[in-house]
Amino acid sequence: MNVSTIMLIAGVVLILTGCFELIRTRNMLKIIIALELAIKAVSMFITLGGWLNGNMPVAESFVVSVIVIEVVVATVLAGIAISIFHKHGTMDIRNLRNLKG
């Protein structure tokens, strides 16, 4: 049981937290939080990978790209959420029931 295994387990727990929250929550903005939480753990995994296999510069470039992409995604998600808020006056996803079948 060394430090890398502990980091791996902590990361798995954080990713699961993010995934469960992504599915469970009914607030559209909290979905962004859940996503970001999981992405944090993934960036930690990538850094861990670089630390373990000695390719840290490659890992760093991956992390930087992931961060940039996720910021854009979070912005777009927030934009959609706010547009829906202007329609319904609430951030509750239980109002999203128009599409069925």
Binding site: S4, K40, E60
Partner: protein, 160 residues
Amino acid sequence: MNIAIYVCLGAMLVFGFLSVLSRHLINAAISLAAVSAACGVLMYVLGAHTAAIFEVSVCSGLVTVIFISAVSLSNGDKQASAPEKRAHLLPIILIAIGAILVIVSLLTGFSLGTHSTVGSAASFDNVFWETRQADIFGQMVAIIAGASAIVVFFKESEKQ
């Protein structure tokens, strides 16, 4: 060095649970920023210095700003007065999963090895600017896409 890693991991887990459990969005956002900061420190300790700077400034700073603007733009949310049920069971389940993983890895002798410096001759600058041009191009396009998204959602009129 190991102590620093454990402290950062602990902080990430605690603030991660807090951000999921908190009733108010602002608290959740601040907890997320704390997770991000802890992750940044962890990256620094592991030797990813540039990534750590990005993590702290962009994720901990910019994302929180975006998030808080989104919360204030949606001011008057009915949800704020009637927050959703807390997930009391969630952290317990997750801690149990973590404990099971720890036990399994102890029993099976699971080991990923330790720090290696085999291929780290090149610097981050060299690797990023010399071999990852495809990613850089992709990021550029993604930012254009984000800008178009803002135009669509905040500037263009609705369909009549």
